[in-house]
């Protein structure tokens, strides 16, 4: 790895660190694991960086997010982050959101928790399409590249995830 190549990596990939951390944060559902996943993913990305040319239609962000996603899933399989596999845990969850924006924390504490909880309770495959689409504005094609599934699958997962979240929203606002 040449110094110039690592400088290019810093310029092209590191601007997307927030996006990488956000995805990892929602996939692992806690801050410290998300940090570890992102760091490992960045080192993997660096290794494959020479194969990445930033050609038309291939954004650095989607490329990095795909690596973050795969790293998070490997992480889960290794059993090092039980949070991915276990059911939602209130104590762990509330302890793990200290690292977010202060105003986001404020908004979150002010709002009822049902929506955030419903998102956390979604299976990871559904959670990730919501995060990629609603929080990170990826196109269907980019999501399909990141998640490694056809666009049609992205669409049906999005629809089902949204239906579930809408239901949570209605219950929260309920009678």
């Amino acid at each position: 790895m040449e110094a110039r190549e690592s400088a290019r990596f810093e310029a092209v990939v590191l601007p997307h660190l927030d996006a990488a951390y956000t995805l990892a944060r929602y996939l692992t559902r806690n801050g410290p694991d998300a940090e570890d996943v992102v760091q490992e993913a960045c080192l993997r990305a660096l290794k494959y960086f020479e194969g990445f040319r930033g050609e038309e239609g291939q954004s650095a962000r989607a490329w990095l997010l795909a690596i973050v996603r795969n790293t998070a899933y490997t992480w889960r399989r290794r059993g090092r982050a039980e949070a991915l596999a276990t059911e939602f845990d209130e104590a762990q969850h509330s302890g793990a959101i200290e690292d977010e924006h202060p105003d986001a924390a404020l908004a979150r504490s002010a709002a009822k928790e049902a929506l955030g909880r419903a998102l956390d309770e979604l299976p990871a495959e559904f959670r990730e399409v919501i995060v990629l689409r609603e929080l990170q504005d990826l196109s269907y094609k980019e999501i399909s590249d990141v998640a490694g599934v056809p666009v049609g699958t992205v669409m049906s997962r999005l629809s089902r995830a949204r239906a579930r979240l809408e239901q949570a929203l209605r219950e929260e606002e309920g009678p």
């Binding site: 040449e2 110094a3 977010e100 924006h101 955030g116």
Partner: protein, 259 residues
């Protein structure tokens, strides 16, 4: 009555992923189907709730530093020297310098350098415009307010289009300074992304197809028509930005027809 096929289509429509023809058909259906309208309202409410309440995180500083340190450490590690290619620009630069040698002229190299400077100008202007209060001199979603605003401020009247039906609402316009002249900058939106369109008369140059450049997480698109030089900058994904550029070009060629 339920419309399962419409529901997936509606999601794609609201995500700006539906082809124009399908979008028209769907809009026609929406206008006469209360159930689909309710479905759409539910989705919009959900999107608003997600935006308001589900946070986007910022990578902790400690993580940023750790990653940077790891990258630099890897760069110092000895590996066999390899020919590296800096994106798509290196081969272009190589081709350009070969051409220079062949022609015995600096002209091409100078033009290429000028093109890059211009792209840097456009990108800097785009980034500056995203700072609070810099995006617009005239804030309006109405093309008939934005276009006349440039009267007396520029020596041309820039074409301004209403693309809100396609998911790119007009936000406003401002004066900017690019390539040593005052130019029109039009701001369009896509969800919470901003798109800046810079344009000025092209000096009757030949029309050219869009060229793309990506830098610092932003995409810059450039093309010329018979009348105008266009530069478009945004952090929007390239497929959508390409779609937007296509809409502008089509609107332009439609408007370019004799009135």
């Amino acid at each position: 009555m339920s419309h399962p096929s419409f529901e997936t289509q509606l999601d794609a429509y609201l995500d700006g992923e539906l082809a124009v023809v399908d979008a028209r058909e769907l809009e026609a259906h929406l206008a006469q189907c209360a159930e689909c309208e309710r479905f759409r309202d539910g989705r919009l409410a959900l999107r608003a709730a997600l935006t308001a309440r589900v946070p986007v995180f910022q990578a902790p500083d400690a993580l940023r530093q750790r990653v940077r340190a790891a990258v630099r450490a890897a760069a110092r590690a000895p590996t066999p020297p390899r020919f590296t290619v800096r994106g798509v620009w290196r081969p272009l630069a190589l081709a350009a310098s070969l051409a220079v040698v062949a022609l015995g002229s600096w002209r091409l190299a100078l033009e290429r350098a000028a093109g890059e400077t211009l792209a840097d100008d456009v990108l800097a202007s785009h980034i500056r415009s995203l700072m609070p209060g810099h995006l617009m001199d005239v804030a309006s979603t109405d093309q008939h307010t934005v276009k006349p605003w440039f009267n007396g401020r520029l020596d041309f009247s820039p074409p301004v289009y209403d693309l809100s039906a396609r998911g790119y609402p007009l936000l406003g316009g401002r004066l900017d300074y690019v390539d040593g002249r005052a130019v029109a900058a039009l701001a369009y939106g896509r969800r919470h992304h901003r798109i800046n369109v810079f344009l000025w008369p092209s000096g009757r140059g030949p029309a050219a197809a869009p060229a793309t450049r990506t830098q610092q997480g932003y995409h810059v698109l450039h093309w010329t028509t018979a009348d105008y030089t266009y530069w478009v900058a945004s952090d929007l994904g390239l497929p959508e930005l390409g779609d937007f550029a296509g809409l502008l070009r089509r609107a332009d060629s439609a408007a370019g027809a004799p009135n």
